[in-house]
């Protein structure tokens, strides 16, 4: 199955900009399903972590108020083309996914 994580990296000097979108419904638990007329149970990412060459550099704690298919961007120093990036997320139902990639 294709990864839920779509990652783009851009490097200038030694500063990498990370941009990503995660495919995830981010259900709040308040939304009513049009067909069943019932509330859709809450289902959202709680944690994402980012490792740069196996070292944790950035992590997130999220609520259900982060938008559907979450978008995130951040920047970090001391990086170069070919460095390893690992992204891992975990949601409230215990689902998780991760992606390993290289800075390009």
């Amino acid at each position: 199955m294709a990864s839920t994580i779509r990652l783009k990296t851009k490097i200038r000097d030694d500063i990498t900009t990370i941009r990503l979108i995660v495919r995830h419904p981010m259900e709040t638990g308040f939304r009513v399903d049009d067909e069943t007329n019932e509330l859709v149970p809450e289902h959202y990412i709680k944690k994402i972590s980012f490792e740069h060459n196996d070292k944790l550099i950035f992590s997130c704690d999220w609520s259900r108020a982060v938008s559907k298919n979450p978008y995130l961007s951040f920047m970090f120093k001391n990086s170069k083309v070919g460095d390893k990036i690992k992204i891992t997320w975990l949601d409230n139902l215990g689902n998780n996914d991760s992606l390993e990639s290289l800075i390009e």
């Binding site: 009513v32 259900r64 108020a65 978008y71 961007s73 951040f74 891992t88 975990l90 998780n96």
Partner: protein, 150 residues
């Protein structure tokens, strides 16, 4: 020969088992339920940053539209020149649960984060930055026309 392949299977399955078990547990640590489930802004901030003073600052730049049609997708960009930024936390004061997201930065990171959030009604988007263990706050009002939390 049989023993060798058996060991191989054992080792690889152990690795699989461990990677599957430990990643989520490590990730799950410290998600502050008492702050995320708080229903008003003062409780949310107080539970996330217990017994800490928060200073107002103009050194946090919040980029957010003044007015957004659909509250389900409100882009927010935060930039700060404050040194040694350890965390950036986003709240919307009128949301059913005002604490939206926290980002933990390490010393390698630039004081910057960009994301998209849900806002239920016209609200102050409040940003709290921990810079060298001092908390700073800035806010910006956003008008939303359609509830983004439904």
């Amino acid at each position: 020969m049989l023993r060798r392949s058996f060991l191989k299977i054992l080792t690889s399955s152990t690795v699989l088992l461990f990677s599957g078990l430990f990643t989520p547990i490590r990730l799950f640590a410290e998600w502050k339920d008492s702050a995320f489930s708080a229903k008003d802004i003062d409780t949310a901030i107080g539970n996330y940053f217990p017994n800490q003073n928060i200073e107002k600052t103009d050194q946090i730049k919040i980029e957010i539209y003044d007015e957004v049609e659909n509250g389900a997708v409100v882009p927010v960009k935060v930039k700060t020149d404050l040194k040694m930024v350890k965390s950036i936390t986003i709240f919307a004061d009128k949301n059913p649960n005002p604490l939206i997201a926290n980002f933990d930065l390490t010393s390698a990171c630039i004081g910057f984060v960009s994301t998209r959030i849900k806002v239920s009604e016209p609200s102050n988007v409040i940003i709290i930055v921990n810079a060298n263990d001092v908390l700073y706050m800035a806010k910006k009002f956003v008008i939303v026309h359609e509830n983004g939390c439904g």
